[in-house]
Subunit: 161 residues, 2 copies
């Protein structure tokens, strides 16, 4: 896969999104849909994960859900107040719900997902009255890199040589 | 908790929903929100689970998600075509998404959930263009028992003696 790493602008958001992109690349190398996620609290990484739905035979093993499970296990709680999630792709409805239940403070995502996203597309879950905790949402970080990774992955799957 | 078991009408739906209700009661006995789920294919139970979010420190450990993970592990696939999910409460957005990703054929649920449901309330996920597989949905089975379990649980928590 011809994919060039392009560092983003300096600053902590860029650094944590770079870690999420590294998780997405590692997922692609495993044959998984390349999405990566990192959870950070007080400047420390609590968890980092990429998609593992194929490896684990688990349709819920999206990067965000795995990162939430890891971070919750690390802190011994089902809630992560004050923690922020960095993910390369706009979360789907399942992950948007998990982020809400985990009480994550902020969501930073890379590329928007008009087909499956549930934050700024689709059900826009955080704007609904049946959502009882919404993170602050920031988007468009490393957008091109995140989207390029997905495009390359699906292009290679369609055209395997 | 004064909660009387009331068998539903005869038939397989009732039988599998009774198993889901038993999982919900077991969850209540563990101090978890009493929701239970069962996954069935070709008349055989592939998985049964109740909420374990507190025990596992995992906000994604809803009954439906745990049952899906168990059933997928049992069959060695991240998809469960031809399988049906019985759950005592209308699924939330997270679980509705997981059910879609697992390609479950039918969803039978007990009580509706106007506050957090995402099937017939809230985002009505299966009616949205960003949902790429929707199960057939049947509801209202053992509705009173399922709702009574939840009411008793939250009443006991508010008023612990």
């Amino acid at each position: 896969m011809a994919e060039t790493f392009r560092p983003g602008p300096a600053g902590p958001v860029s650094g944590f999104m770079d870690l999420a992109l590294a998780q997405a690349r590692a997922a692609a190398a495993r044959g998984e849909v390349p999405v990566g996620a990192v959870i950070v609290r007080d400047g420390a990484v609590l968890a980092a994960a990429g998609n593992r739905t194929l490896e684990l035979n688990d349709p819920t093993a999206h990067a965000e859900v795995l990162a939430i499970r890891l971070a919750c296990a690390a802190v011994g709680s089902q809630r992560l107040p004050g923690a922020d999630l960095y993910v390369t792709l706009e979360p789907c409805a399942m992950c948007a719900g998990a982020i809400s239940f985990a009480r994550l403070r902020r969501l930073y995502y890379g590329a928007g997902d008009p087909k499956g996203g549930a934050v700024d597309h689709g059900v826009r879950f955080y704007n609904q009255p049946t959502c009882h905790h919404a993170p602050d949402v920031y988007s468009g970080f490393a957008e091109r890199e995140a989207a390029d990774l997905l495009r390359s992955f699906f292009r290679d799957r369609r055209d395997p040589d």
